[in-house]
Symmetry: D2
Subunit: 138 residues, 4 copies
């Protein structure tokens, strides 16, 4: 955790009132924490465009009764193991599975893995959650 | 323009360095201006969910040679004139038109108009730009 | 307008029912038109990442009373006239202006112009509407 | 898995060529699978606006050295256990943790939990991955 720096910000009174409202609604303890969050959001977006090492999660929904589906999903994950950390599997109901793959590595490779998993016949929904390794965003 | 208020913000040194970098890249003159912009972005999102009066632009691309297309687009705009301010029409090439409809009013009605225009056969692309009347975001 | 090709699509009955519902809600005349729209959305996204020539609109909200603001916005537009087609200006109320700049050209240059306009002190909200020249998306 | 229905779609030749390109790039085995995916994406968006029961993942990045942080994150998760299925915790490096919370339930409650977790001081980045229980999207 790096040293804290303090600086002044000027805001129009009415804009500040609305911001304070927003902070309360979103449960932030103070203005600095809310502003930190907005700044980090922008930095995470930048990391996915320009960075080398990102982290995130790929969420998949599928019906495990589909023939060969489990096998194919597992095969693909093994072929991309350099960007996969671990996988969490949840039985939503008799048919549907929620599988969350924790990923880390080069943004383009992670995106490629998400595309491949989404494209498998029988995967109903796939989405990539773009987050960060935390290193660049104190 | 309302009165300016000044307050202090604490940020981790490394996060601030990265933020200052971001500010330079995006051409902001100072930190306050960049933070104001992030705050306003959140407020505009809120206005479209909870507000009563928003403004924006609907951008359409279409081929004006399509039979009846111009007539239908114009008819629909007349039927929704309560949320339309004005329309800008640009001839991109021999076939393609770019039409930008400036809109203002209830968010649901504006969204409905965008959906209807997008759904017309011959409209190649339609998108709604969500902005603000400026009243709530000093 | 290019020649129409017809091909068959297989869909789960329940998924198709839900899709037909969606089509009605969004006002599409038939399934082909709705699917065309989804395909074009993906192609437009691709154009902005990989393409050379895109079109769109930059929407700005600002208070025209701010000193020098009009002058600066106009100066910047002149400096980027190679990607600007025309500008539509609307007086929302006594203070607030809605300005919609129709743009066309290289995606990175258009994005840069949007960043510069957004960053001007006094511009309350700026957003870039990413659309297409229509050439690549019949 | 519900019965398959086959229907015809008409597409402009040039649009179809571009679509086939897109399919190859994204690794889809055939057109139906790619179109199914686009349809499901729209249905999942609808579920989060209008639905009662959704699933997804909340991804958090934080420094576990921050005083009380682990305790607070755990407390909050217990207070919202009705929408939490399970949690996956990954040690990214000496300081940074990636925590992925599998969630299911009412969209507004899930969103509220994500807001609360994001707002905690010390959480560097938080993001909600909106997916589906799979029930509505065969």
């Amino acid at each position: 955790m790096s040293e804290l720096v303090r600086f002044g910000v000027s805001l129009e009174k009415k804009l500040l009132d609305k911001f304070d409202n927003f902070i309360r609604e979103r449960n932030y303890t103070n203005r600095s924490e809310a502003l930190r969050d907005m700044i980090r959001q922008e930095l995470v977006k930048k990391e996915w465009v320009e960075g080398e090492d990102v982290a995130g999660a790929i969420t998949l929904i599928y019906d495990h009764h589909r023939k060969d589906l489990l096998g194919r999903i597992t095969d693909i994950q093994h072929n991309h193991q350099q960007v996969i950390i671990s996988t969490q599997h949840i039985h939503l109901d008799h048919d549907n599975c929620l599988e969350i793959v924790a990923v880390r590595g080069n943004p383009a490779e992670v995106q490629r893995l998400a595309d491949v998993l989404k494209s498998i016949k029988g995967v109903k929904h796939g989405i990539l959650n773009m987050s960060s390794t935390g290193k660049g965003i104190e």
